[in-house]
Symmetry: C2
């Protein structure tokens, strides 16, 4: 009988239980700390056991789940979209920043800082129904290529992170994205790219309006930014949306600091993880002095709070999902 039972049993186990769930992670202390945390909180005999309902893990997106250089990919979309819209109606370019953006002048937009970014996003993202907007983004993602790598943007997701998300879900975690990126922008690709459904995506958003358009109830994106899901906004948005504190938070910049701080200050077992971009060869190397994804406070204070710092160059055997 035993000979019959064993194969039957094995066939019902998830693949992950039989092989390494994180094959693109080098076997370093980083990987071991992450796996040890997951094994502890899922072990019913452990004093640090956490019930599945409380197994919530939150991930930043830009620079954590996919790349963010030379600028946030959403800004590249916004500039290309603005150029398209301006080709039909040049009057929408009402400022030097918008004119520069429509010409693809990244440096000029970057120089304008946060305000310029908001202005470009505003001009390119609003005044359209959510459905139409998302169709435009999907179409763009299907054809756009990154200026340096030539990969499509959804090929520039990080393979080790896709594996980590899957591993966590196999262990009955619920995985969420909590990103400064646009909510409606992200939802066009996050289910395919990461296996995360739309109701588990939190991001920056504008107000919406609800009204009948040609007899059809329509939700339309209004101008302006109603909520910025960055820095202190991240724990605030998580608390508001989930009503509970995660037990694990993963980010890569000081925009994620408050999210990791709040997560790891909770009672019981907690894990904070920061991705440190150290790999100039396969990706980019940047931290304290970067305009995009600045990481200083996290490097200075994270280790004392027990946060795990991922050294991309040494901890990952593979970087992008779209290249070996």
């Amino acid at each position: 009988m035993r000979n019959l039972v064993l194969p039957a049993l094995l066939s019902t186990l998830p693949i992950a239980a039989l092989s390494d769930p994180l094959p693109s992670w080098e076997d370093t202390a980083t990987k071991q700390q992450i796996v040890a945390f997951v094994e502890t909180v899922t072990d019913p005999s452990s004093a640090d056991y956490v019930t599945p309902a409380a197994r919530v893990a939150v991930f930043d997106n830009d620079g954590t789940l996919w790349a963010e250089q030379p600028v946030y990919f959403q800004l590249i979309f916004a500039m290309e979209r603005l150029a398209e819209l301006a080709a039909q109606d040049p009057d929408i370019l009402t400022s030097p920043v918008l004119e520069a953006a429509a010409k693809g002048d990244l440096a000029a937009v970057a120089e304008g800082g946060h305000e310029a970014l908001i202005e470009v996003v505003n001009a390119s993202h609003s005044g359209t129904s959510v459905d139409d907007f998302q169709a435009v983004v999907s179409q763009w993602l299907d054809t756009a290529q990154h200026p340096d790598t030539g990969l499509s943007y959804d090929q520039m997701t990080y393979q080790p992170m896709v594996e980590l998300l899957r591993y966590l879900r196999d262990e009955e975690f619920r995985t969420y994205i909590v990103s400064g990126g646009g909510l409606h922008f992200m939802r066009t690709f996050t289910e395919d790219a990461y296996g995360i459904p739309p109701e588990q995506i939190l991001g920056t958003y504008a107000d919406s309006t609800y009204e009948m358009v040609d007899g059809v109830p329509t939700i339309t994106k209004a101008p302006g930014v109603a909520f910025i899901d960055d820095k202190e906004g991240k724990p605030i948005n998580i608390e508001r949306t989930l009503g509970r504190r995660p037990i694990m938070a993963v980010g890569n910049s000081d925009g994620d600091y408050a999210m990791l701080e709040w997560t790891t200050a909770g009672d019981g077992p907690r894990l904070g993880v920061l991705v440190h971009h150290t790999d100039a060869e396969r990706e980019w190397a940047y931290d304290r002095d970067s305009a995009i994804g600045r990481l200083a406070d996290g490097l200075d204070n994270g280790p004392d709070m027990g946060w795990v710092i991922v050294d991309m160059a040494n901890d990952w055997s593979r970087v992008f999902t779209g290249s070996q």
Copy 2:
């Protein structure tokens, strides 16, 4: 062998499959329409089959899942809380409305309409951490009694609705509350009362702040109202939070009209349900002329849109969970 297999099989079926999942509903056309909808969308051989991921049902709370007369229960809490706070610091009663509220003068507060309600909620709900606020609400719910029935407020949930929520979840629906009530207020009782976890509660909310208080990262409720989850706000909040349109929406007042309209305008099978308060004997009878839970547009236009109108007096064999 068959004799052994059958009991084993039955023991793995949920109870609901073996008996009536809605015992507190009379066997009327209303119940039949609801059950027929659920059976259709969960039948893989049906042209109207809906995958579990898309089986989202949204419910209003006040007047739909629990009673709302003579006023919203949250307002009763707010007035009692205000009286407590004023006993320590009478200076917080900065207006005639607040003075009336602290004295328990419901009529005066009701006369002030929506603005008075917001003022009372503001003065009693803000300036405290979310954790502390929820502890206060829980304590209140443990002891407070409804002025007419003498029941505790969580005994005034509707037994037929608790059954409907459970039935839907047994059929792999995800059940959400989308209410004009306060988000943090509701989350103190909605998991126990309805089996709905905090991340599936949407409601009205104030801004929050995130800051270190005595070395502890703390989320605090700010004054004012950041978002009112009523009328057009309901579909807007659902779209923002879930990123998908429900296939079923249940409400009881014109505050739920837009939510039902948006839900039932989607492609494929959809169900809109309105609870009509027709039962002056066991509950209350009110609709067009009620200050609380006004229902006129829904009665006028709902039937033409295929919405099911629940006649409480005739469709429910039992009303409150707390009384037979």
